[in-house]
C-alpha cells in the first residue's frame, strides 16, 4: 500500500516537472487522424525544428474542449475534416483572422473563409457511385433527380450522424431553402434500398453486391478501396462507376479539410509557419498522393486516379454556409426520421 502511494506521488512529481520545456512548439487540435498527416508534421519538425504536439478527436468535441478551456487553451491551431465545424469554431469565437499572403496565394478564394478565419487544406467530393451492370450513367444527372420514382428501393446512403451527409443537406438548405431540402430528404428516405447502416465503403460494397443500384459516397473512400490490399474489395469496386452529379446545374457537392488559428494561440508565429507549410506544393502533393484527396493548391495536380475521373464543376456555394445550416440539416434528418 505504502509503496503504491509513494509511486503515485513520484508520478505526480514527474508530471509536474516534465512540463517545463522551452523548445519551439506548436500545438494542434485536429480531427484528421491519418498517418499521412503525421508524416507531414514530422517532416515539418525536421525542416524547422519546431515540435508539433497533437490532440486528435472529433471536430465538435474539440470545439467543446476549446470552449471549456477558454483563454487557457494550449491549442494554437485547429484542423477539421469538414467546413461546417470550422465555421462553428469561427462563430463561437474560437478562431482569429489572419491576413497572410502565402496562404491567400496558395488557396483559391472559394476554399477559404472571406475574413481569413480558416483556410482549406484538401477537398473531397460527394459523388454518386452506380452499378456498372444495372445502371447507365445516362440515367444519372443530379442529386435532385434521385427523388425520381425509378430509384425507389435503389439508393444506399449512410446514417444522419455522418457529417458529410449533414453538409450535403446543409448545402441544399442554403441553396433551396428548408422546406425543399426537407422534401428531398424525405423522398430519399423512401427511395432507400435499406435503412442506413455501415460506413462509406459498405455503401459501395452494397452496390457491388446488388443490395442497391446507386450510393452517395465520398471520393476519398473509393480511392482507398481501389488501392486496397484486399483483392475482394478491389474487384468489388471494379463493378461500380463514379458519377459527378449536377455538372450542368450547381456543381458537385464538395467539402474541405481546413485549418484555423485559435484566438488564444500562444505560439502564433510557429502556427502560421505550419499553416503556410501545409498549403505549399510539397505538402499538398503528399495529401494528394497518399490520401486520395484533391489538393487545394491549384499548382498541385491530383493523383492519377482522381485525374482519371476527369475535372468537374464544384458546387457553387460559400462553404461557410455549410456550417451555418448544419443545425437545420440535422433537424431535418430528425424530422424525416432518416435512420429508422
Amino acid at each position: 500500500m505504502k509503496k503504491i502511494i509513494l509511486s503515485m506521488l513520484l508520478l505526480v512529481t514527474i508530471l509536474l516537472t516534465g512540463c517545463a520545456e522551452k523548445e519551439q512548439v506548436v500545438n494542434l487540435y485536429t480531427s484528421r487522424h491519418y498517418d499521412a498527416d503525421q508524416e507531414l508534421l514530422d517532416q515539418f519538425t525536421e525542416e524547422t525544428g519546431i515540435t508539433v504536439n497533437v490532440v486528435k478527436d472529433e471536430g465538435s468535441t474539440l470545439i467543446t474542449r476549446m470552449e471549456a478551456e477558454g483563454e487557457d487553451t494550449l491549442a494554437d491551431l485547429f484542423i477539421t475534416s469538414d467546413a461546417a465545424n470550422l465555421e462553428v469554431a469561427k462563430s463561437s469565437g474560437l478562431l482569429q483572422s489572419i491576413e497572410n499572403e502565402v496562404l491567400n496565394e496558395n488557396i483559391p478564394n472559394n476554399l477559404r473563409d472571406d475574413e481569413g478565419y480558416w483556410f482549406g487544406l484538401t477537398m473531397r467530393a460527394r459523388v454518386i457511385v452506380y452499378s456498372l451492370d444495372r445502371v447507365s450513367p445516362d440515367e444519372l444527372s443530379t442529386y435532385e433527380d434521385l427523388v425520381n420514382d425509378k430509384w425507389v428501393g435503389k439508393i444506399l446512403i449512410r446514417s444522419a450522424s455522418n457529417i458529410y451527409n449533414q453538409s450535403l443537406l446543409s448545402s441544399f438548405v442554403a441553396t433551396k431553402g428548408y422546406e425543399e431540402a426537407k422534401e428531398w430528404a424525405s423522398v430519399i428516405k423512401n427511395n432507400m434500398a435499406r435503412t442506413p447502416e455501415g460506413n462509406d465503403r459498405a455503401q459501395a460494397i452494397a452496390v457491388a453486391a446488388g443490395i442497391g443500384d446507386i450510393a452517395i459516397m465520398n471520393t476519398y473512400y473509393i480511392g482507398k478501396m481501389i488501392y486496397s490490399d484486399d483483392a475482394e474489395q478491389t474487384s468489388a469496386v471494379e463493378k461500380v462507376g463514379v458519377f459527378f452529379p449536377n455538372q450542368d446545374n450547381g456543381g458537385t457537392h464538395v467539402n474541405i479539410s481546413g485549418i484555423g488559428l485559435t484566438k488564444h494561440a500562444k505560439n502564433k508565429d510557429n502556427a502560421i509557419k505550419l499553416m503556410e507549410y501545409l498549403t505549399e506544393e510539397d505538402a499538398q502533393s503528399i495529401y494528394a498522393s497518399a490520401n486520395y484527396e484533391y489538393p487545394v493548391n491549384p499548382n498541385v495536380e491530383p493523383s492519377e486516379l482522381l485525374k482519371s475521373w476527369g475535372e468537374f464543376e464544384t458546387q457553387d456555394i460559400n462553404l461557410s454556409l455549410l456550417g451555418e445550416f448544419n443545425k437545420d440539416a440535422v433537424a431535418i434528418f430528425e424530422e424525416v426520421n432518416w435512420d429508422n
Binding site: M1, L15, C19, N27, I63, E197, N199, A202, A209, D339
Partner: protein, 538 residues
C-alpha cells in the same frame, strides 16, 4: 479506536463525493433552456430511440445471462471433452472490444468478406439479406457474444464457492439433478446472474461505436448527433441525463427483482464440487455447445484478424508498438489499482452501515458506469479546468512558467475519468464478497482488541484476495479496451492501443486496425492467465 473508524468513514465519504462530482456538475445542466433541436428530438424521434435502446439492452442482457449462466453451470458441475480448458477459454471473448467484434464480423460476412467470396468461388450466390449482420438481431448477437463472460465469470465463481454444500445435502436427500438445479442452484445464483447481466446491460447502453456502425438509432446515437452534429453539448448532456434516469429505473426494478434475500454460506469451508462425468450424447452436446460459443465469441473473429494482420504486415513499421503497449498497460494498471483501493475503502466502511447507506453508495458508484464515456469525460474536463484555474498559484510555487491547465493536459485526467467510469465494476465485486464474508471475522478481531485498520490489513484483505484479483482483472481489461474517454481527454501526442484501433476502424481500415487490436487481446489474455496463476497460488 473510535478515531480509527472515524478516519475510515470520512475517507470513504470524501471518495464518494469526489466520484459523484462530475455527475453533479452535469446535473446543473438540467436548468439550461431547451434548444429547438432538443424539442425536435422530443417531438419526433425520442420514442424510437428509447424503444431501440431498451430492445437492444434488454435482449443483450438476456442472451448474455442465458449463455453465461449455462456455460458456468456446465463447466462447474460436469466433465466433458475439453472441459478442462473451457473454463479458461470461455472467458476470452471479453478480451475483444465489442466494436472490434462488430467491425470484424461485418468484414467477414459482407459481400467482399471471406465467407461470401469463398461461396462465390464455388459458384454459390446467396441472398445478401442472409449475411447482413448490420441489424438489431446482429447487434444483440455482437453484444451478447462478447459480453456474456461478465455473467459467466461472476456466476461461475459463485457456483464454485457457494453451492457445494447445498448440492451435497440435496443429493443425500435423493433429489434428481434437474430438480437440484431448479430448486436449489438456480434460486441461489439469481443475484449473481442479475449482477452479471446488469454489467452487460450498462455496457450495451453506453456503447456508441457499434450502434452507429450497425445503423441502430439508440439513445447514445441521439446524444452524439446532438453534440457532434449541432455542437449542442448542453442538449447532449440533458439527453444523457434522461438515459441515466432510465437506467436508474431499471436498476431499482432489478433491486426489487433481486429482493432482500441474502444467503450466507452455511459453512466456511468451501466444499469442493465433485464434477459429474457426462456420457454419450450429453457429452457431445456439452462439447459442441461450449466449443461453438468459444468459436463465435473468440476463435472466428481472432482468426479473421490474424489473417488481416498478416496481410497488413507493413503496419508493423507504422506503429511504435512498444510505446503503445507501455502506455496502455501503465495507465491501465495505475487506474485499476486505484479503483480497487477505493472500492476496498468504501466497502470496508459500508459493511458496518445500514442497508440504506449501502444502496445509496452503490448507486452513486454505479452512475459513472451507466453513462456514456464521452459525457463522463465532459464532466471531468469541467472539473479539472476549474481546479487548475484555482490552483495555478500553487503550481507557480513549483514552476514559475507553469501552464494553467497543468492537470487538465496530463494523463492524470484520464486516470480520474477511468475511475469514475469503471469504479462500479471493481466495487460491486468487492462489496458483494464483503457481504458474503459477513461480519464475524471483523467482530472477532475487534473483540481481540484490533482496530479497524489492523483488521483490514491482517484479516479482511487476505480473505478477500481472490475476489480482489478477480475484480482487478475485470477493471483492467475494461480500461485497456476503453477508447471514448481516452479520445476526449488525452493530452498532446497521447495514443493508446485503443485509440489506434479506433483511428483505423473509423477511417474504414478495419484490417489495419487488427494489429493493435490483436495486441489488446494478447494483453487481456496475459492478464487473465496471470490472474489464474495468482488464484491457484492462494
Amino acid at each position: 479506536m473510535k478515531k480509527d473508524i472515524l478516519i475510515w468513514k470520512s475517507l470513504a465519504l470524501i471518495l464518494l463525493i469526489i466520484v459523484a462530482l462530475p455527475i453533479l456538475v452535469l446535473l446543473t445542466y438540467i436548468f439550461t433552456p431547451n434548444s429547438e433541436f432538443f424539442k425536435t428530438i422530443l417531438e419526433n424521434t425520442l420514442f424510437s430511440y428509447i424503444k431501440n435502446t431498451l430492445v437492444l439492452g434488454l435482449f443483450a442482457a438476456l442472451v448474455s445471462a442465458i449463455l453465461g449462466y449455462s456455460l458456468a453451470y456446465i463447466t462447474t458441475y460436469y466433465k466433458f471433452i475439453f472441459s478442462r480448458y473451457m473454463g479458461f477459454l470461455l472467458i476470452l471473448p471479453l478480451s475483444i472490444p465489442t466494436y472490434i467484434a462488430g467491425y470484424t464480423y461485418e468484414g467477414m460476412l459482407n459481400y467482399t468478406g471471406v465467407i461470401q467470396s469463398t461461396l462465390r468461388s464455388i459458384g454459390l450466390n446467396l441472398n445478401q439479406e442472409f449475411f447482413n449482420i448490420l441489424s438489431m438481431p446482429g447487434a444483440i448477437f455482437i453484444f451478447s457474444i462478447t459480453l456474456y463472460p461478465y455473467v459467466y465469470l461472476i456466476t461461475k465463481s459463485y457456483l464454485a464457492k457457494q453451492t457445494g454444500s447445498y448440492i451435497e445435502t440435496a443429493r443425500t436427500l435423493g433429489k434428481s439433478s434437474f430438480s437440484i438445479f431448479r430448486r436449489v442452484i438456480l434460486p441461489l445464483s439469481r443475484p449473481a446472474i442479475i449482477a452479471g447481466s446488469t454489467l452487460v446491460l450498462l455496457e450495451t447502453l453506453a456503447d456508441y461505436a457499434v450502434v452507429t456502425f450497425f445503423g441502430i438509432p439508440t439513445f447514445t446515437s441521439a446524444i452524439f448527433k446532438t453534440w457532434y452534429g449541432l455542437g449542442e453539448h448542453e442538449s447532449a448532456i440533458k439527453l444523457a441525463l434522461i438515459a441515466m434516469l432510465i437506467v436508474i429505473i431499471i436498476l431499482i426494478f432489478e433491486k426489487l427483482l433481486r429482493g432482500r434475500k441474502v444467503y450466507f454460506s452455511s459453512s466456511n469451508t468451501v466444499k469442493v464440487i465433485k464434477k459429474v462425468e457426462l456420457k454419450g450424447i450429453h457429452n457431445i452436446l456439452a462439447t459442441v455447445f461450449t466449443l461453438s460459443v468459444f468459436s463465435f465469441g473468440f476463435l472466428f473473429p481472432i482468426l479473421q484478424q490474424i489473417y488481416w494482420a498478416i496481410r497488413e504486415v507493413d503496419m508493423f513499421k507504422r506503429v511504435n508498438l512498444l510505446e503503445l503497449i507501455l502506455r496502455t498497460v501503465s495507465i491501465g494498471l495505475i487506474a485499476s489499482v486505484l479503483i480497487i483501493m477505493i472500492s476496498l475503502i468504501i466497502a470496508n466502511v459500508l459493511r458496518l452501515s445500514k442497508p440504506i447507506y449501502k444502496r445509496l453508495a452503490s448507486s452513486v458508484v454505479l452512475l459513472g458506469y451507466s453513462m456514456s464515456g464521452a459525457i463522463i469525460a465532459l464532466g471531468t474536463l469541467i472539473i479539472f479546468i476549474f481546479v487548475d484555474r484555482n490552483m495555478v498559484w500553487l503550481y507557480k510555487l513549483f514552476n514559475p512558467n507553469t501552464r494553467t491547465l497543468l492537470f487538465t493536459m496530463s494523463p492524470l485526467i484520464l486516470v480520474f475519468a477511468y475511475i469514475i467510469r469503471f469504479l462500479s465494476v471493481g466495487f460491486n465485486g468487492v462489496l458483494s464478497s464483503y457481504e458474503k464474508m459477513g461480519n464475524k471475522y471483523y467482530e472477532a478481531s475487534k473483540t481481540m482488541g484490533k482496530n479497524t485498520t489492523k483488521t483490514f490489513f491482517k484479516i479482511d484483505l487476505p480473505l478477500l484476495k481472490i475476489v480482489t484479483i478477480n475484480a482487478f482483472i475485470l477493471v483492467f481489461i475494461d480500461i485497456i479496451k476503453e477508447v471514448t474517454i481516452t479520445l476526449k481527454l488525452r493530452p498532446f501526442n497521447y495514443d493508446t492501443l485503443g485509440t489506434k484501433v479506433y483511428q483505423y476502424a473509423t477511417d474504414e481500415m478495419i484490417p489495419v486496425a487488427s494489429y493493435p487490436s490483436l495486441v489488446i487481446v494478447l494483453l487481456c489474455i496475459i492478464a487473465i492467465v496471470v490472474t489464474n496463476r495468482l488464484r491457484r497460488q492462494s
